[in-house]
């Protein structure tokens, strides 16, 4: 290999790879693959972020529904609503317990009944929202509230959190499958370009092979060229994908947190850290694919 490096230094393109492995088609195709890979990577990370934030909020959410809230409680110590509020306040696993106001209730049900409940003569239950900070189940609390105020129902977000987790996991799987396919297509592109180069340089390679060039050296020459072209293409594709990702992140910001202006600086840190790895991966794919292709092709020589 040292000899080849020396030749490269002194004499440039020994095999004529610059014309045989074109600097047009391969970088453009690898660039397109990198662009798609960057979007898929962004999608996978966005799914992970959404899953994390939604699961945390949704799983901890408690909604307590108290029918006939103004009626006396089971012990005749006051109203059912007051009894439930006292029980919630005494439970350290329950935080931020808040009774929805009449206005909030009306806003919630307006889409279904078209007006406020009082004007329609409907007896609505009281609704308390809270956060469950306990590590275990809220079943004991539900039983306690049922005793104090029969008919009281607790709904947790756990089932929704599980559904969200399933959805985001499948979306992440799709994104990773896209990444895998993109990597395979990039490898196929490099393999086809390398085989085309080998066909063009067949005579030259046979001569050099006949003069005693090691197959590893010939493969390394090709791999060096393929690596450079794949790296250049992937850099271009990734750079082009970055503003698109910033725009998509801006579109998704209402779901993921406070809205920020569309800017590269507002991309998730994990994505910013992983994006530079795409060109490195493309270079690695270029190197390994060219090595395998050339070594396989050389096996046909004596």
């Amino acid at each position: 290999m040292a000899a080849w490096c020396m030749m490269a230094r002194h004499r440039g393109d020994l095999l004529g790879l610059r014309s045989a492995l074109s600097d047009r088609l391969l970088p453009v195709l690898v660039g397109a693959m990198s662009f798609l890979a960057a979007l898929a990577l962004g999608g996978a990370l966005a799914c992970a972020n959404l899953a994390q934030s939604w699961q945390g909020d949704t799983a901890a959410a408690l909604t307590i529904q108290i029918p006939q809230p103004a009626d006396p409680d089971a012990g005749n110590d006051g109203t059912r609503l007051a009894a439930v509020q006292r029980a919630l306040a005494a439970n350290h696993d329950v935080q931020d317990a808040t009774v929805l106001t009449t206005a909030e209730m009306n806003r919630l049900i307006a889409p279904w009944i078209g007006g406020d409940a009082a004007s329609l003569g409907l007896a609505l239950p009281a609704i308390i929202t809270a956060q469950w900070a306990g590590s275990g189940s809220s079943d004991a609390l539900a039983a306690q509230l049922q005793q104090l105020s029969p008919g009281t129902v607790i709904r947790t977000g756990a089932i929704w959190a599980q559904r969200v987790a399933t959805l985001t996991t499948s979306l992440q799987g799709c994104a990773l499958a896209v990444l895998l396919i993109v990597a395979l297509v990039a490898a196929a592109v490099v393999a086809v370009a390398t085989r085309s180069g080998l066909a063009q340089l067949r005579d030259t390679i046979e001569i050099v092979h006949g003069l005693g060039a090691l197959e590893a050296d010939i493969a390394t020459r090709f791999a060096g060229r393929a690596t450079w072209l794949a790296l250049a293409g992937a850099l271009g594709g990734t750079v082009l994908a970055a503003p698109v990702l910033a725009w998509l992140a801006w579109l998704a910001s209402p779901f993921t947190g406070p809205a920020h202006p569309a800017s590269l600086f507002n991309l998730p840190p994990a994505l910013l850290a992983l994006l530079p790895l795409l060109p490195a991966c493309a270079a690695l794919i270029g190197w390994s694919t060219a090595q395998i292709t050339v070594r396989g092709w050389l096996r046909r020589l004596p």
């Binding site: 000899a3 004529g16 050099v208 005693g212 090691l214």
Partner: protein, 224 residues
């Protein structure tokens, strides 16, 4: 030393046409530092035999030793390293079109990892020997057939190979250049290089009375 023991060579494309073997039961031995002419009519198998010697073909049968190494049992890496010790002058020159004369001649030395200072000294010297020092920066397509032949010869001998194999090396040379080439080859032979030269040039064989291997229809019909 070169030793062929009951060597057969078969080309697959020839087999379809009914001509199964290019070489049949060829056996001979060339001592280290020896010189052999390889003669015979066109199609007799001279180039095929040379290809076996410089490891460009595998025999269908038989045992081959090149420079005291069993050619049949070489790993691909060892075969490449053995090829570096063999200088070859091809009938069709086989120069790299993208390199100039200097770099074509320097190629075997660079493959053998010789230092650039030595490469420069030896390449310049051998180009002077073949009378092409003034054409060292010309590319093959800028050289005449005879000049390309001399560059090919220079490339074959520049790394001082232990074995020199030449296929019609004087085919494109005038008498003066042919004599000059033979002086170079015999000088290398005297320094210990084993030489095998395939030729149709009867005058050359007569002028340099070295032992001769003669082929006819793939069979060795004369050795000595």
């Amino acid at each position: 030393m070169i030793r062929f023991d009951d060597v057969w060579l078969r080309y697959h494309h020839a087999a379809r046409d009914g001509e199964a073997e290019a070489l049949r039961a060829v056996s001979f031995e060339i001592e280290e530092g020896g010189f052999r002419w390889l003669t015979g009519p066109s199609g007799a198998g001279k180039t095929s035999l040379l290809k076996l010697i410089y490891l460009a073909e595998h025999p269908a049968r038989g045992r081959i030793e090149i420079l005291n190494t069993r050619a049949n049992r070489l790993t691909r890496r060892d075969a490449a390293l053995l090829r570096r010790r063999i200088g070859v002058v091809y009938q069709d020159f086989r120069l790299l079109p993208q390199l100039d004369a200097y770099d074509n001649v320097a190629l075997p030395m660079r493959l053998a990892r010789r230092g650039e200072a030595q490469v420069k000294a030896d390449v310049t010297e051998i180009l002077r020997w073949v009378g092409l020092a003034h054409r060292m920066h010309a590319r093959p397509d800028e050289l005449s057939g005879g000049e390309q032949q001399r560059i090919a010869i220079a490339r074959a001998v520049v790394a001082r190979p232990r074995l020199l194999v030449a296929d019609e090396p004087t085919g494109n040379l005038d008498d003066e250049q042919a004599q000059r080439l033979m002086l170079l080859i015999t000088a290398l032979n005297k320094l210990g290089t084993t030489v095998v030269v395939a030729t149709h040039n009867a005058a050359l064989v007569e002028h340099y009375p070295f032992p001769r291997l003669s082929l006819e229809n793939g069979r060795l019909v004369h050795d000595g």
